[in-house]
């Protein structure tokens, strides 16, 4: 079988590869959203008045940015499995209980990217002109109203370039989750490479697919940035 046949003809390897690519995108998106939720909570803690909360968030962002992501994945996976094993033990189960790899992976990506996203959001908040918040206060807006009407829309705009960066990082990190057995794009390529003995073909295919994903998402972020920048363009 030649390369084309292997991928698109009788080999039909394009199916597991594109399924892997789809898994990569979904897990990256899940991790990104989780990270955005944790990250904005962390950013609020770091910006807020409570010294303990500020310190905790500070420790979190410093630690999580300082340790290898692979370690986080292992800790979550084996820690999660261990905990599940303990609970299982009560009900008579023995041996190793695996926890869902997709959930673990998404959580790991969320936990790690939260540390980066927190910094992005914090910077974005600081970029908002103080006077605009004061104007909100001066006309009687409440804290939540100011957040919704003034802070969030502008912080999002200032955060977009940084968020695009975090997204690209997450996309690459998804490959690490293959170590706990999730079949994403990298793992699918490995499987194909192993069973057909044509590693170059499969890794090249993975390369192309990663490139397609990043260029599409890069373009989407550029579009979003352009839309958000509209009010700030001078005539």
């Amino acid at each position: 079988m030649d390369s084309y046949d292997l991928l698109f003809g009788g080999g039909r390897w394009w199916i597991p590869l594109s399924e892997g690519a789809l898994t990569t995108v979904t897990i990256a998106a899940s991790g990104f959203v989780l990270g955005a939720i944790f990250g904005s909570a962390l950013a609020l803690m770091r910006l807020g008045g409570n010294a303990v909360a500020r310190r905790l968030a500070d420790i979190y962002t410093t630690t999580l940015r300082g340790i290898p992501d692979l370690l986080v994945i292992y800790l979550l996976y084996f820690g999660g499995s261990g905990a599940l094993g303990l609970i299982g033990g009560f009900f008579g189960a023995t041996g190793f209980i695996g926890i869902p790899t997709f959930a673990t992976g998404a959580l790991a990506l969320g936990v790690v990217s939260a540390a980066y996203q927190a910094e992005v959001f914090r910077g974005a908040f600081k970029a908002i002109a103080r006077g605009e918040l004061e104007a909100g206060r001066a006309c009687g807006m409440s804290g939540p109203a100011m957040f919704r009407r003034i802070v969030a829309p502008q912080a999002l705009r200032f955060a977009l370039p940084g968020l695009g960066n975090v997204w690209q990082l997450i996309l690459k990190e998804t490959a690490l989750i293959s170590v706990v057995g999730l079949v994403e794009l990298m793992r699918a390529a490995q499987v194909g490479a192993g069973s057909t003995r044509q590693p170059f073909l499969f890794y090249l295919s993975a390369f192309v697919l990663y490139l397609v994903i990043t260029s599409i998402s890069g373009r989407l972020f550029a579009r979003a940035e352009a839309i958000c920048a509209r009010p700030y363009r001078r005539a």
């Binding site: 002109a129 006309c139 109203a145 009010p231 700030y232």
Partner: protein
């Protein structure tokens, strides 16, 4: 535009009623405010009746901006009594940084009745001119959107910027931005307008257009407190002038009188220094 033609500078003497029969919009008694160890306001007392245009003058650091910011609680005063458009509050209004006396509803009433115009405009940069103007009426005062839009268009026409309603602030000149900020304040239907050095951030050639709008508001009979360095405005538009020095009222009275016969030597020097 209204067609009222009252000439402000003559008003105190030309008023048919004595001062105290007009409703008092602002009464300040013994107002004090410190930042850390620095006491910025050392017991200020002041009144503004309906229709008064009070110019607040003073060297930088004299406390004039702080005084204005205390009036709508952008700063919380430490001591004294404030009566703003019918809301009377005796300080201290806060203990350990928490407001104990001024509840949210009172605060909203004060802030919408005494609307603020800032030195640096502070328009919301992600909103169009119209969106800026309708924001507080809709979000804070909860008035119907259609009414707010109609009123916003009227106040924008009033400041000469009706055709800019769908423009973003970044595309406007400083003078235009400040006029939008005035429209934004007017849209809340305030009883008092507070101006915090409204022309100080403007290029000299743009000062005039803002002062023209302010003069027309004064002619309309609006109650205004104006912290300013524009001696022309104080002298010719304001009905009363207050001169602050180191956190105290140094000179105060009808503008025509205080400029003609300053009692305080410091105020005399201040006028000389500014008006050369």
């Amino acid at each position: 535009m209204t067609l009222m033609t009252s000439t402000r500078q003559n008003e105190p003497s030309a008023m048919p009623l004595p001062n105290d029969e007009r409703p008092k919009k602002i009464e300040i008694e013994g107002l004090r405010k410190s930042f850390g160890k620095i006491e910025v306001l050392k017991g200020i007392s002041l009144e503004a009746c309906q229709g008064d245009v009070v110019a607040i003058l003073g060297a930088s650091g004299s406390g004039k901006s702080t005084l204005l910011r205390c009036l709508n609680f952008l700063e919380t005063p430490d001591a004294g009594t404030l009566s703003i458009c019918g809301e009377r509050i005796t300080m201290p209004a806060s203990a350990k940084g928490r407001m104990i006396q001024v509840d949210r509803q009172t605060l909203i009433r004060i802030r919408t009745r005494a609307a603020m115009v800032f030195q640096s405009f502070n328009l919301w940069s992600h909103m169009t001119v119209l969106e800026n103007v309708i924001e507080a009426p809709i979000q804070v005062q909860r008035r119907p959107r259609a009414v707010c839009v109609a009123e916003a268009e009227a106040v924008l026409a009033r400041v000469g910027l009706a055709e800019k309603r769908h423009t973003y602030p970044a595309m406007l000149s400083g003078g235009q931005q400040q006029r939008v900020a005035i429209a934004r304040a007017l849209a809340m239907r305030p009883e008092v307008l507070l101006f915090d050095e409204p022309t100080s951030a403007l290029d000299p050639e743009l000062v005039g257009e803002v002062l023209t709008v302010m003069r027309s508001l004064a002619d309309e009979g609006r109650t205004m407190l104006v912290v300013t360095h524009e001696m022309g405005f104080a002298r010719h538009v304001s009905s009363r002038t207050v001169f602050l020095h180191q956190g105290l009222v140094e000179e105060e009275g009808p503008s025509a009188d205080v400029f003609a016969n300053p009692k305080s030597e410091r105020f005399r020097q201040f006028i000389r220094r500014i008006e050369v």
